[in-house]
């Protein structure tokens, strides 16, 4: 049966980027559909009726919702090349743990760093840096979280890098000064074609966040 793959996405979404990277790593041909989140398509509402969110991976008509679930699904179904999760159960547990940590911490702290002001913003920046420092420790001397090659945790975290210019400008802090190892890791990932073609330019994301802030009334 021919594999028909469609990705419902929104170009600045770090969650969408995860799925793009996974599909690229596996060399899967797919149709990319950018959604207007203020005017969601009938297809999106039909494929993700519970959350009505992107990304949604549609494989032969069946939807897989939630980015990390889609990445795991891609890894399991297309298991003939570029494995993203390790084969050892304990290492898989570690990978799942750290991807989940990134979900719980990076997105939230990052978001607070550009949507809040004053004390709240300072707290968000502190949380954000602490989170990256913990991840730097996890990385250790490895080139990637996945070891010698890009793995599940790399795919889960690197998309947030495309938002760093926005975080830095609006949060007024220098991430590279605090977490040089993290930045070096992100740049290393960007040398991979799958990552380079899945992440938008940081400046484009910055412009997008600028517009969002105006709409949200954050000055």
């Amino acid at each position: 049966m021919a594999n028909e793959v469609t990705l419902l996405d929104f170009w600045p979404s770090p969650f969408g980027m995860r799925v793009r990277i996974a599909l690229a790593e596996k060399g899967i041909q797919y149709e990319y559909k950018d959604e207007d989140l203020r005017n969601k398509s009938p297809l999106l509402l039909q494929m993700n009726p519970v959350h009505k969110k992107i990304p949604v991976l549609i494989h032969n008509g069946k939807p897989v919702c939630e980015s990390l679930i889609a990445v795991q699904y891609i890894d399991e179904f297309w298991n003939n090349k570029s494995p993203l999760l390790p084969s050892d159960p304990y290492q898989r547990a570690q990978a799942r743990f750290w991807a989940d940590y990134a979900d719980k911490k990076i997105y939230d702290a990052g978001r607070r760093s550009w949507t809040t002001k004053g004390e709240e913003q300072e707290a968000a920046k502190k949380d954000f840096i602490e989170c990256l420092k913990l991840l730097e420790q996890q990385l250790g001397d490895k080139p990637y979280f996945g070891g010698d090659n890009l793995g599940y945790v790399d795919v889960a975290i690197v998309p947030f890098y495309s938002w760093f210019e926005a975080y830095e400008k609006f949060g007024n802090f220098n991430i590279e000064a605090e977490c040089p190892k993290f930045i070096a890791w992100a740049k290393r990932c960007l040398q991979k074609e799958s990552v380079a073609k899945s992440l938008p330019d940081q400046h484009k994301v910055y412009d997008f966040v600028l517009q969002m802030r105006k709409k949200l009334g954050v000055e």
């Binding site: 494989h59 939630e66 679930i69 699904y73 399991e76 898989r92 799942r96 743990f97 989940d100 940590y101």
Partner: protein, 225 residues
């Protein structure tokens, strides 16, 4: 064979998810009760990031976060499977695991609800549970189909724990006329011999929840008992 230990707390539904998975697979383990107001060195060392239970210790390895632990258990002890074999079905199970984690707020709002906002909180919760009933449980005996699966385990705090919350708040949410299939599943789930013999004592749980509710209410702005 490496030793298996579980750091848990008698009241924690998350720790019970792991207990049920281990027991359903017949895995022998040592249970270590933690006093969460005085966390052990072992817990702090094994879960430095969150310092929470449950933590599964397998030999010298520590696995944290109940959802991660359940996947680990399935992979190390694949007999009596709790996850579906098919990749797509597995993705669906993971969707509901994620959904349950996402909806914690609705349960929280309910537990701190007062006379004024009780009905609204109940309505919101019923909406969430209707989704679970219609789209996850459907017309099956269990979320896992004919037998208990990982999604049953994930929603396993609805029986017993949520019943204790309903009693504390003074309002029934899971009722046979509004959520008939979920209500029937609750009774069925509790009857399973593994589940039945691995639940915290109900009266103690109610007392705990009542106390917990009071402490949350006193911390919540604009809330009153």
């Amino acid at each position: 064979m490496d030793e298996v230990k579980l750091l848990g707390c008698w009241v924690s539904p998350f720790a019970h998810r792991v207990i049920w998975a281990l027991k359903l697979k017949g895995v022998k383990y040592e249970y270590i009760q933690e006093d969460l107001s005085n966390k052990s060195e072992l817990l702090l060392r094994s879960n430095p990031v969150y310092k929470k239970v449950p933590v599964l210790l397998h030999g010298d390895k520590a696995i944290c976060e109940s959802a991660v632990i359940l996947e680990y258990i399935e992979e190390v002890w694949p007999h009596n499977p709790l996850f579906p074999k098919d990749a797509y079905e597995r993705a669906l199970s993971r969707f509901w695991i994620s959904f349950a984690a996402d909806k914690g707020n609705a349960f929280h709002s309910f537990i701190v609800s007062t006379e004024e906002n009780r009905e609204k909180s109940k309505t919101e919760l019923v909406e969430v549970l209707k989704i679970v009933e219609d789209q996850a449980l459907k017309d099956q005996e269990f979320f896992g189909g004919d037998n208990i699966g990982v999604v049953d385990i994930i929603f396993g705090n609805i029986p017993h724990w949520f019943e204790a919350m309903e009693e504390s708040v003074g309002v029934k949410v899971v009722e046979p006329n509004t959520l008939p299939r979920l209500h029937a599943w609750v009774q069925r789930f509790k009857q399973n011999p593994v589940i039945k013999h691995n639940l915290p004592p109900y009266e103690d749980l109610v007392l705990f929840v009542k106390g917990f509710r009071q402490s949350l209410i006193s911390k919540t702005p604009n809330a009153s008992a």
